[in-house]
């Protein structure tokens, strides 16, 4: 299981090729790449802030839980931070399992978590100015499909 936060750009194809290389016990690899959307032409840039040493730990705990739940052989999560432009890859998730169902479902679950609850703070720079973004209702509802609506042990909401 690997979780990486980085400000440098990444090439999704290279990550996928490296993730697949040399595996003999894996029958299925699913990958997801998220790109920054321009939302028409309104979004000029995204600024993504993480808390290094905390954000990666929390994502790692969620990745470990996905490994356990779906019986994965391996997981890779790469997430960019800092300034991003529309079209830039922002997140890459790859899951490896013996069979496809587990790999699909685990990737789906991890993305729902990353989009709704992962410790990032996101600012959208738009023509009208900059604003901080909160998860969309749809992101919360997606996360609830995996019973993650209740605060977990890593979150102590007062």
């Amino acid at each position: 299981m690997t979780v990486r936060l980085q400000s440098d750009k990444f090439e999704p194809g290279d990550l996928l090729a490296a993730f697949c290389k040399g595996r003999r016990d894996v029958g299925a690899v699913v990958s997801f790449t998220g790109l920054v959307r321009a939302e028409g032409e309104s979004v000029q840039a995204l600024e993504l802030e993480a808390y290094p040493g905390f954000t990666d730990l929390q994502i790692g705990a969620m990745a470990d839980a996905a490994v356990e739940r779906h019986g994965l052989i391996d997981v890779l999560v790469v997430h960019r931070t800092g300034h991003l432009r529309p079209g830039d890859p922002i997140v890459f998730v790859a899951t490896a399992a013996a069979h496809r169902r587990a790999a699909f479902e685990a990737a789906d679950q991890l993305m729902d978590y990353l989009k709704s609850r992962a410790p990032f703070w996101k600012k959208s720079h738009e023509a009208q100015g900059a604003r901080w973004i909160e998860p969309a209702l749809q992101d919360y509802q997606d996360a609830q499909r995996w019973d993650m609506s209740a605060p977990g042990p890593l979150e102590d909401r007062r």
Binding site: L57, F120, K122, W132, I133
Partner: protein, 80 residues
Amino acid sequence: MRVLLFGPLRDVAGWRERTMAPPPGSVVALKAALARDDRALGEALERPGVQIAVDRTIVRGDARLSAEAEVAFLPPMSGG
């Protein structure tokens, strides 16, 4: 001790990281000290959903603080 602000809190305060002498006691005392310096920040820290991490673990408001502690104020998270 080190105090870290994230997301919108950083914009409210105009700083991201500050080293300061720990107020005697708990996170409550630290929040009071920050609010005395900067009322807008004090109010922002009391908004719903602001969590506190001490040495990268989420804690309650009455958590004790050591002189070496790293205290982070985490406003509601946006996801990636």
